[in-house]
Symmetry: C2
């Protein structure tokens, strides 16, 4: 077995960002991680798909996105860094605790997988992302849970 | 403006693979690109999700996957190479020319986006992938086209 090289500063920072911001919802830390201008380059299904957000806009997106899933957790499968960007592929799970897309809360666990490419500025702050998530899988779980309720 | 470094051999080869195998459907070239054992690690919605395929199995997957979309084309947005793997994010489009998932052919263009992480053996042959595609977007297009027909 060969030892893996230590992770880069950017990878360590991206892991911290995912935990502080998206797992724990610490809105007050957004200014540490997010550049003054953040581009949601591609994120089908996200209400901010295509938009350029300032810090307040990003904080609003974070609050809205976590509202139905306040205990959400990301498990990062792998991070690939190249040309100043990092691609991360991930699993996600959360308790469905609030209304989303017309589906009332059921208290059941929802699972999702996805992949995101993040870009950075010279201060290692995030300047945007390109993301795909398995939305059909989530939709099918929400439908199944509603039928079983 | 700074010039980009030249692409690695693996990136060039992955672009050729996407064109020869998935855009053009050249089944006879699978043995050039695919390792004797290929692991579909994660690919929700793919009938071979989780399976380990030999070359014949991979060729069968290629033929089945392209059957409804014989003119499909991938447009690669970016490739990130790290630790022997390559993450690629992409757009795809195709004419819906055959039955798929209960949806009859309409002749209309279907669009999709996704992200894939590929792994390689020492001969630069592909040993597997982890993939997410925006299946909900495709499902919505198929439904809309059926209603309009």
């Amino acid at each position: 077995m060969s030892a893996s090289p230590p992770e880069s500063q950017r990878k360590i920072r991206l892991r911290q960002f995912m935990r502080d911001i998206w797992d724990e919802g610490r809105v007050e830390l957004c200014s540490v991680y997010i550049a003054p201008s953040y581009h949601v380059r591609h994120d089908p299904g996200d209400p901010w798909d295509g938009e350029i957000l300032d810090l307040v806009g990003y904080e609003r997106r974070l609050l809205a996105s976590r509202a139905a899933f306040p205990d959400q957790k990301f498990a990062l499968v792998g991070l690939l860094e190249d040309g100043g960007a990092i691609a991360v592929h991930w699993f996600w799970q959360a308790c469905h605790s609030g209304e989303i897309g017309g589906f009332a809360a059921t208290g059941k666990t929802i699972r999702m997988s996805g992949a995101t490419v993040y870009t950075f500025d010279l201060l290692d702050r995030l300047t945007g992302h390109w993301q795909i998530a398995d939305r059909l899988g989530v939709f099918q779980q929400l439908q199944r849970n509603r039928e079983q309720d």
